[in-house]
Structures are given as C-alpha cells and as structure tokens.
C-alpha cells in the first residue's frame, strides 16, 4: 500500500470524498476496497442464520456461531452480529469473508462520518449506506459471494427499534416486527411467527431469539445449535435508547438449559426406535 500524504487528504475538493469513507478509500487506497476480479464460482465459508426482533424498548439482533463450507464446518465460533455504532447493529449471512469486510467498512464509514461532520447519521441514512455497499458487491454476488445482512437499530428521532432486510441487489425493505435470514432463516421465521406479539420485554425476545435459532439448528444442517461441550452460544445484542448491549453468555446459557429441559418433556423430541419407526416414545 502506498501511504497517502496528509497534503492530498486535507483539501476538500468539490468532487472529493466529503465525509464518505468508502469514497476516500476508492480515491486513495483502491486496493483496500473489497472486490473480486476473477470469474467462476468460488467456494468460501458461509455464515448461516441471523435474526432481529423488536421489543418494547428497542430491538435485538442474534446469530448462531457456525460457518460452513459445503458440507464441512468451516468455523464453530464465528461471530455474525456486530455493533455498527452506539445505536445500531448489523448481522451477516452469506459469504463470510466479504461480509465481515463489508461490516468493517460500514463501521468505519459511520464513525468517519460522525467525526468529520460532528454529528451522527440518522438510522435511515445508515440503512441506505449499507444498501449502497451491498449493491457495490453485486459483481461478487453473481459469482456466488452473496452477502445479505440484517440491519437493526434504535431510531432516536422516532423513539423505537427498526429492522431492515436487504436483497442481493441492495434492495432495502423495512420489517415491522422481526426478520430472520440465512440458510436456517425460514425455520427461524416460522418459529418467531408463532411467538411474536407486540410489546414483548427484552427477556422474552432474547428467549424467543434463542428458541428460533434452536429450531433453525434442528432443521437446517448449516445452523449451529448450542455447543455445551465447548461452551459456545449464540451472540445476542440488544439496542435501546441507552445504546448497544451484548447479552452476557451466562444468561444465554441458562436460557438454553431451560429450553432443553423443557423440550425433553415434550413428545416431539422423544427418542424414536429406529427398528420400529412410528412406535417410539
């Protein structure tokens, strides 16, 4: 990397980077921008299920910890939920490498804007910025490196949590209550659909998020369930007016233990005798 000189960075030209970090990077260190040149499909680790749910004071974002590469487990303890700034978080599903890079660029972008302008972007502004970044990734997505994040945050102007989902072209759609995406997204959504109500408390949504990830792991090979042996549990971040807060691992562990005890009592999880299918239990 050729290091840019302060002299070149100081001027604020009419067509210059202004307060956008991506534009700054493009004009001064283009090789640091995430991109893919070669054609043909690439096989890279993929992140699987992530979700977001609104509650009475804001929104939570959660994700399992598994990354897969084909039928292999690429990583058991990957983190897919990232605080983007004090009042928003982004969760990633899809090709892990470009997704993590996109999050890093997004975080820098938000902080850069805040420092240069002296004030923060609105939640809407952040959501649109992420949308542009996903659109910029479209050529890579055509080669199989799809990145589809969920973005959620607390809107300080409207005084409520909001959830945005995206498609591969950067299309941005706001969800009213909850959303889940990734390989187990459909199963997680099914699980959340049965449980979601208006004005849930934080404790309730954390429990529902963990149940939804558990249900997704039950149905989808790509989604990791709780790993009690290694002590690996989903990441859950809550965002409210007071900022972002990572739910401690102990709390998640005890919710899982309750959940497992609870489900062991229920017939759907009883052991089935493989020699006499249908008669087990």
């Amino acid at each position: 990397m050729k290091e840019p000189h302060l002299n070149d960075l100081m001027r604020v030209p009419v067509n210059g980077p202004g307060s956008s970090f991506s534009d700054l990077l493009r004009s001064h260190v283009p090789e640091a921008l995430p991109r893919v040149n070669d054609s043909g499909n690439l096989h890279v680790p993929e992140g699987t299920t992530v979700l977001a749910i609104r509650y009475d004071e804001g929104v939570i974002v959660a994700g399992d910890r598994r990354a897969t590469e084909g039928f292999q487990i690429a990583h058991r303890s990957i983190e897919k939920v990232f605080a983007a700034d004090d009042h928003s978080a982004v969760a990633i599903a899809g090709a892990a490498g470009p997704a993590v890079e996109m999050v890093r660029l997004f975080q820098t972008e938000l902080e850069h804007y805040e420092k240069v302008e002296g004030e923060r972007l609105t939640l809407e502004g952040k959501a649109n910025k992420l949308s542009q970044m996903i659109r910029a990734n479209l050529p890579a997505a055509m080669q199989g490196l799809v990145v589809v994040p969920v973005f959620a945050g607390y809107d300080l102007a409207q005084g409520r949590g909001r959830i945005f989902k995206y498609d591969v072209t950067g299309g941005r759609y706001e969800e009213d209550d909850y959303h889940a995406t990734g390989s187990g997204g459909k199963d997680a959504r099914g699980s959340l659909k049965k449980r979601y109500r208006d004005n849930l408390s934080r404790a309730e949504v954390v429990r529902y998020a963990i149940e939804a990830l558990f249900d997704a792991a039950d149905e989808d090979v790509g989604t990791g369930g709780p790993d009690l042996m290694r002590g690996l549990f989903p990441n859950v971040v809550a965002i409210s007016v007071s900022g972002t807060f990572e739910i401690p691992e102990d709390e998640i562990r005890s919710i899982f233990e309750e959940l497992i005890a609870d489900r062991s009592e229920r017939p759907e999880t009883h052991n089935v005798d493989v020699r006499r299918p249908g008669e087990g239990g």
Binding site: P4, L6, F21, L24, L25, V29, L105, T108, V116, G118
Partner: protein, 230 residues
C-alpha cells in the same frame, strides 16, 4: 520588464512568522491539561457547533486555535489519514506521533513554500494506559513540534494562561494530579485570568480523553455538566 525586489530569506521568514503570530493572537484560547483519568480540553468558544476540539481516532484528539477554515482542513485531513491507516492496517497502528509528524511536515511545507502561512496552531493528544504514557504534541504554524506534559495553552493569551497554570497546577506531577472536576476548575480559572470577556458555561467548549471509557476515549463534556460546574 520590472525587476523583482530582492528580499532576504531571513526577512521573508520573519515577516511570515509575524503575520502568522498576529493572526493567532487575535483568536480565542484553548487549555489542555492532564488529569487523573486522562486529558482535559477547555476552549473559549461562543459557537455551539463550530468546534475547536474534536475526536481524531480511538485515543487521539485534536485542538486548534486561529483561523477556523485552516485548522478545520488540518482536522479533516487528520481524520482521513487516521481512518485510512486504521482500516488498511490495524486500529493499534494509528499513533499520535505519526499524526503529529504528518501535521508538522505539512505545516512546515506550507510555511516555506506558500505565500501565506497558516494562521493557526494545533495540538494532538493521545491518552495512554497510565499518566506517564499520555502524549501531547503542540504544533506551531511553521511546523515546529514540541512534546508537552501536564498542561499546554494555545491562542491569543497563551503566555498569561501558561503563567497561571505554572503557578497553580499541583507541583508533584505525576504523583499528584487534579481529578476531572479540579482540572476543569483550574482550566477555567486560567482562561479567566487572561480574559477580556466574562467566561461562563455558555461560552466555553470542553471535552476529555478519558482512559476509563471503551474503545473511543473521546467524550464531549455536556452543557449540563458545564452549567453544574460553573
């Protein structure tokens, strides 16, 4: 063809330095002071939005006095340089020393090669894990840098303010240091000692680099806090 007048380099530099100094002397002042948890900034500033003090990177902050558009350019350049470096390498690779060096080179070049030197002085400060690891660099209009500790004053009445601080800052540095509230009082008293204007919570701006905070150590002291204090 008219002959250009000969001006000796000594005279040229002296004229430029006088010009820059005059410009800076007209401006309002900033005090920077080490306290128990980090570094405090206090500036006389009637504007609530045009800041003299701002965040550059995780542990690094910036203060400028003199001509607003000039130190604002330096500030934005510093943020861009730091963010590019932190993104390309690692957040730990962004240091106050490298930034102070870049500022010094740039201001030095402008001073010698441009017709008009910058009429501003800036300060780059980084809070360390402990008091002894704090870094404060004071950079003048001609690019000269000094490495400071305890306190620094810049701007219109820097000498009067420094004299006041020299007398009143606790003598056994770093064993004995003011806490946040004492530092704020001391900085305010120093600004008032030089003041032509009546200073209240309304017309000052303050911020801290506080090592007890998370990744981003910079925090603006709120109007409520200033009102409660003064």
């Amino acid at each position: 063809m008219p002959m250009p007048y000969y001006v000796s380099p000594e005279q040229l530099m002296k004229d430029k330095a006088d010009y820059a100094r005059k410009g800076i002397a007209r401006g309002k002042s900033v005090v920077v002071m080490e306290f128990t948890d980090g570094i405090l900034f206090l500036a006389e500033n009637t504007s609530a939005t045009l800041h003299k003090i701002s965040e550059i990177y995780d542990r690094i902050a910036f203060a400028g006095v003199g001509k607003f558009n000039e130190y604002e350019q330096l500030r934005i350049g510093g943020i861009r340089l730091s963010d590019l470096k932190g993104y390309s390498y690692s957040r730990h690779d962004v240091t106050a020393k490298a930034l102070a060096n870049a500022y010094s080179q740039t201001l030095g070049n402008i001073f010698t090669s441009e017709i008009k030197p910058y009429e501003c002085e800036i300060l780059v400060a980084a809070v360390g894990e402990e008091t002894g690891q704090n870094e404060i660099f004071h950079i003048l209009y001609d690019g000269s840098v000094t490495d400071r500790e305890q306190w620094v004053a810049m701007g219109g009445h820097a000498e009067t303010i420094e004299a006041h601080l020299k007398e009143n800052y606790p003598p056994n540095y770093p064993a004995e240091m003011p806490d946040f509230s004492a530092a704020l009082d001391l900085a305010m008293a120093a600004l008032r000692a030089a003041g032509e204007r009546e200073l209240t919570a309304e017309n000052v701006e303050s911020a801290v680099l506080d090592r007890t905070r998370g990744r981003r150590k910079f925090r603006r002291v709120t109007d409520e806090e200033l009102h409660a204090q003064f």
